[in-house]
């Protein structure tokens, strides 16, 4: 570290400084911020309403009037993608949030205490893991009823086992290290050892898994929408747009391509940012 930085800095500011030099991560972050701005100001940016139908102008190729063309109902795809970012980003982040929170808590408790606690929690997780994620999400969504909130819960709970496993594995390796014993030795309480000493050291795989998870959560939500259990039409959602346009792919490539590319760009930037964040949060990696 350079010698001129003598004043005290918080851990987050420190991490931010490290993150800023990582160009790829900054690119990812800018794209994500752009998407979020797009979602917030959707009505101001979108040239048309998301449910405006002009059947005479269906399936138009991209042009200056319709930047990304129109779909089979003559709706402007560009506008729908902008509105769709609201739903898709929400589903992605909140579903992963649910998964990380529940899975992370279960995983770290299970790994830290071990023994019977570990056995009970992990057998429960194994039971969840035995059911394919999508199937689990479908059954939860079917039980709770269709809608945005329920789709998020369904997708979120469906990912709990993955996060529990990832966190457990990484907590197990960290908890055996000597500094954890040293922390016990100075009289730190169990929950504080987990939160302050173990989790920050066990974050790396979780951050990577979570950024990848946002992507798959968007896709799972799309799958739910596809069978009518997720977001209801005409509310636009990237995954749903993708699956709805799938039938026309041979004649009208643009209906599928643009939502697909948007999902790809989002996921790509999330991964770049996630990688950079993992490096930035780890002070062991020097400049």
């Amino acid at each position: 570290m350079s010698k001129d930085n003598k004043q005290k800095r918080g851990q987050f500011k420190e991490a931010w400084i490290r993150l800023r030099i990582n160009r790829a991560a900054m690119f990812g972050l800018s794209v994500i911020i752009l998407l979020i701005i797009m979602a917030v100001f959707a009505p101001l940016i979108a040239p048309y309403g998301y449910d405006e139908q002009h059947l005479k102008m269906a399936n138009l190729l991209p042009s200056w009037r319709h930047l990304m063309g129109t779909d089979n109902f003559g709706r402007d795809i560009f506008s729908r993608i902008i509105y769709g970012s609201r739903v898709s980003l929400q589903v992605g982040f909140i579903a992963v949030g649910i998964g990380v929170l529940i899975g992370g808590t279960l995983g770290s408790i299970s790994a830290y205490y071990g023994g019977i606690v570990d056995n009970v929690i992990m057998r429960f997780i194994d039971t969840l893991l035995a059911i394919p994620g999508t199937l689990l999400a479908i059954s939860i969504a079917a039980a709770l009823g269709p809608g945005l909130t329920n789709a998020m819960i369904a997708v979120g709970v469906g990912t709990v086992p993955t996060y529990a496993r990832v966190v457990r594995a990484s907590v197990l390796t960290v908890k055996e290290q000597e500094f954890i014993e040293a922390a016990k030795c100075i009289g730190v309480k169990d929950y504080k050892i987990i939160i302050k000493h173990i989790l920050p050291n066990a974050m790396a795989p979780l951050i990577v898994q979570a950024t990848l998870g946002v992507a798959s959560a968007i896709l799972s939500a799309a799958a739910l929408s596809f069978i009518g259990l997720g977001i209801q039409p005409p509310t636009p959602e990237w995954g749903a747009m993708l699956s709805a346009g799938r039938v026309y792919i041979r004649d009208y490539w643009h209906i599928v391509t643009f939502p697909g590319v948007t999902i790809m760009i989002t996921i790509f930037s999330l991964n770049l940012f996630g990688d950079g964040l993992r490096d930035a949060l780890d002070p062991r990696l020097k400049r």
């Binding site: 000597e178 040293a182 016990k184 030795c185 100075i186 009289g187 730190v188 050291n201 002070p283 062991r284």
Partner: protein, 333 residues
């Protein structure tokens, strides 16, 4: 100097591995007086670290269990305390320095914060005040306080051990347990750290238990020394008594095995024949008897009792017992 701070009586600690029971510590007796430094010397696996962990009640359970014995600290039995009471003692009244400074600091927290953490846990002070005390501690162990905000990886091994010492002493504990604090360091740094610990021990008026397998280190800074073999103290006394009037055959063997710079270099180094007994199957009599050169008949059948050679010098060996015991009396252990 006659106030007893720590008194370990007949401590037995065992680990279960598979369906075998391993007696790591066996009838251990140690007394530490206030302001005194006691060295625990023994081979790897003799039970030194297990004893230290037992004092702090940090033996992982399962597989470890403290089976018998009492550990009195300031006249209170630590083994009957609740976990929440123990937490208030750890780091505050008794603290421990680990062998490897490389791994005993949390890599993602600044060293200043790690010192402040222990202060905040045990003293009712504000965050800012804890930071100031932590800075003072850093200066006392010889690290400029400007380095408060740096992370462990930015320090060398010796500097890290200084930080660990600062953490251990931050709450001015009555007892400091140092588990081979210099083993992972090179010799020049070793001397510095030992000197620092000795100086701080006097400044803070702390008693110390120094675990080591280096008789030289022990001679340097300890007042008393306990020689440990197979989980028990075979000889205990002041450094002078043990080093000059060595009594137990095992201790004699240890001293004979130290290489000397003088004398015949072609002569082979002395070693004690045999290995430590298998801890799952410790012999009935004296655990050292299979390797002992002055073994008596009774040694294999009967566990020896503690015999005082003088007031402060104790040995657990049949050679020094006053009269031979009847064989049927040995079943008491």
């Amino acid at each position: 100097m006659n106030d007893v701070l720590l008194n370990i009586e007949d401590l037995v600690v065992s680990y279960t591995s598979g369906n075998k029971k391993v007696n790591a510590v066996n009838r251990m007796n140690i007394v530490v007086e206030k302001g005194e430094t006691v060295g625990l010397v023994g081979e790897t696996g003799a039970g030194k670290t297990t004893t230290a962990k037992a004092i702090l009640r940090l033996i992982p359970n399962p597989p470890g269990v403290i089976e018998k014995g009492k550990i009195y600290f300031s006249n209170e039995n630590l083994l009957s305390k609740k976990e929440s009471e123990m937490r208030k003692i750890r780091g505050n009244k008794i603290s421990m320095i680990f062998q490897d400074p490389m791994t005993s600091l949390n890599p993602v927290i600044t060293i200043g914060e790690q010192i402040a953490e222990v202060i905040r846990l045990h003293q009712k002070v504000s965050k800012a005040k804890a930071g100031i005390i932590a800075c003072e501690m850093l200066e006392r162990v010889g690290i400029p306080k400007e380095r408060y905000d740096e992370y462990p990886h930015q320090f060398s091994g010796g500097m890290k051990q200084r930080v660990v010492i600062a953490i251990a002493l931050a709450c001015n504990p009555q007892l400091l347990i140092a588990d081979e604090p210099t083993t992972a360091l090179d010799v020049t740094i070793q001397a510095q750290i030992l000197e620092l610990m000795h100086k701080l021990k006097i400044d803070f008026n702390t008693s110390m238990i120094m675990i080591s397998h280096d008789l030289g280190v022990v001679a340097e800074i300890c007042d008393k020394v306990a020689i440990i073999y197979a989980g028990q103290v075979v000889e205990f006394g002041t450094v002078k008594d043990v080093y000059k009037n060595t009594a137990h055959p095992y201790t004699k063997g240890l001293f004979a095995a130290i290489p000397s710079i003088k004398g015949d270099r072609l002569k082979r180094l002395f070693y004690i024949p045999g290995l430590m007994p298998d801890p799952t199957n410790i012999p009935n009599g004296c655990p050292f008897s299979p390797r002992c050169s002055s073994k008596l008949d009774i040694c294999e059948k009967c566990a020896p009792k503690d015999t005082y050679i003088n007031e402060n010098h104790l040995v657990r060996c049949h050679l020094y017992e006053e009269k031979e015991r009847e064989l049927d009396l040995c079943q008491s252990y």
